[in-house]
Amino acid sequence: MADHALTHDEVVAPHGVHEHPFYQKHHFETAEQQREAAGFGMWLFLLTEIMFFGGLFMAYLLYRNWYYDAFVSGSNTLSLSLGLINTIVLIGSSLTMAMAVWAAEVRKQGALVMYLVATIVLGCVFLGIKTVEYKEKFELHHVPGASFDISEFVHPTDKAEKPLPVDMANKTQIYFSLYFAMTGVHAFHMIIGLGMLIYFVIKARQGLYTTGYVQPIENFGLYWHFVDIVWIFLFPLLYLINRH
């Protein structure tokens, strides 16, 4: 189906002009006003999210400049293939989410449920892979804190890796702090998102969102895509600092 613009009336006001769609809250004048308010509100919320992650990115930028070698070595211990798979999975989940919004807009209940479930599955795959990665870090003692161990960076098992002097190797802890803080906050957002997705699936099966009431799905889509964008930056910044 090609892109096309539906006028609002076709979608939400099929019965007579004085009827308000059931989902319109009565403090809004029109359903359209409500929809735009909700969308704008969601964007403002994403604005706060930008600044929330912004503080972490600021810290990352500073320490990456200061301790570049430690960041490179730290980054090279991450699994490129797992990171790449996760990137593809997450962008894929963004695609299915976008398709879910489309399905809701053209009122295809079956497709909507299918795409939402697909998004959940992909989200779970992402978190699963993330768990595997985290587990490996725990086993290697690369988790910041008392048990943090720098021996891997001073005497790398992989001969291709450049050994770090001890003072620089100590700074890998900052890299891993930021790695865990950034991916952790990101994963936390995904867990919240998955919880909401499950709710949406239940409601979508009851046909709530295929009657013109697209706005919750659309807003959630914005949130999910935002989480995707954060990952689009995290992937090169954390995994690909200098791989050659």
Binding site: W66, Y67, L164, P165, D167, M168, N170
Partner: protein, 347 residues
């Protein structure tokens, strides 16, 4: 109920000694006070203007006298006036303040240097001659004194109100401030950055002495070893002298005369060797690698106290020749110990 005699005593003391500002005891104090007075004049004039407007309008246009308001949209001319005039004054204050700031935070080249170490909750002062003081600072009158300060734990702030001088003492980094005391006497020393339970106990006295009194104090309070001498011992005992021999083939760079030089670094940049650079290079050597050397120096993070670090820095600052380094090395190689007598020899 009358005023209690104690209170009365304080009142007279306050009014007679330091009614509105503390004593001016440094060369910048007068300059700071001049700006302060200017700023209060600005405030008073501004305030008077606003008050006058409020009072005149309130009297003239109160409802009894002026029952019907006349609507006025605004006046671009007036509004431009009270945008531009304050802006001009504020910019003038900015320039004045910036000038003063750079003056207070730029020590003159000929300053004598005293090291300050802050910790919860005391001030340690280390004079180059090895005099140590706790919660006190003795300085000579009429000389430029630079303080190189560092904190062992949290942020502190070294404040001498009578000098109008203050600077934060930062963990992990040297900060500096300087002054030139103009009047002998004892002045307050405060920690002004909140630093935990006994923050208000982190106070002391700054004693300004005439040059002759100061000399007498210096002579009477020496601990026998200067900072540089302590540094020299550390330099040997930490094994620094093994690599920094000064030889052309040495594994570490030659440190003699390095202080104040522009050093060519491994990454192609050029860095000025300062106190802070020396400290960082000892703690994070691989990030301060001079061109032509390998990153083999171990880090001394956590192995040297801030006082020890000051000793080392002071030693390297004064190092003009490697003669004694090599001598010490020769002795320690034969003895496997640093000569304990080295402190008695004045370099």
């Amino acid at each position: 109920m009358g005023i209690s005699p104690v209170l009365w005593q304080f009142l007279t003391k306050w009014l007679t000694s330091s009614a509105l500002w503390p004593r001016e005891a440094s060369t910048v104090a007068g300059q700071t006070d001049a700006l302060y007075i200017f700023l209060w004049l600005m405030t008073i004039v501004g305030m008077a203007l606003v008050l006058a407007l409020l009072v005149v309008f309130s009297v003239k246009y109160r409802k009894e006298k002026h029952p019907n308001a006349i609507q006025i949209e605004g006046s671009t001319l007036l509004e431009a006036t009270w945008t531009i005039i304050p802006l001009g004054i504020f910019l003038f204050v900015f320039v004045w303040g910036a000038w003063l700031y750079f003056r207070i935070y730029n020590p003159p080249a000929d300053s004598m240097n005293i090291y300050i170490v802050g910790k919860q909750w005391m001030w340690k002062a280390e004079h180059p001659g090895g005099q140590h003081e706790i919660n006190a600072l003795h300085v000579p009158m009429g000389r430029n004194v630079q303080l190189t300060m560092i904190s062992q734990d949290v942020f502190h702030s070294y404040s001498i109100p009578e000098f109008r001088v203050k600077r934060e003492v930062i963990p992990g980094r040297y900060s500096t401030v300087w002054f030139n005391a103009t009047a002998a006497g004892t002045y307050h020393l405060f920690c002004t950055q909140y630093c935990g339970t006994l923050h208000s106990g982190m106070v002391g006295d700054v004693v300004v002495m005439t040059p002759s009194d100061y000399q007498a104090w210096v002579d009477s309070s020496t601990s026998g070893m200067s900072l540089a001498q302590n540094g020299e011992r550390l330099f040997a005992s930490m094994g620094c002298s093994q690599c920094h021999t000064g030889d052309a083939a040495a594994r570490g760079p030659n440190l003699a005369g390095i202080y104040g030089a522009k050093l060519k670094m491994d990454d192609g940049s050029t860095q000025l060797v300062t106190d802070g650079f020396l400290r960082d290079a000892i703690l994070n050597p691989s990030a301060h690698l001079p061109a032509g050397f390998k990153p083999i120096m171990p880090t001394y993070q956590g192995q040297i106290s801030e006082e020890g670090m000051i000793d080392l820095v002071e030693y390297i600052k004064g190092l003009k020749t490697n003669y004694r380094v090599q001598q010490t090395l020769g002795t320690s190689q034969s003895n496997q110990a640093a000569p304990s007598a080295s402190g008695t020899v004045i370099p």
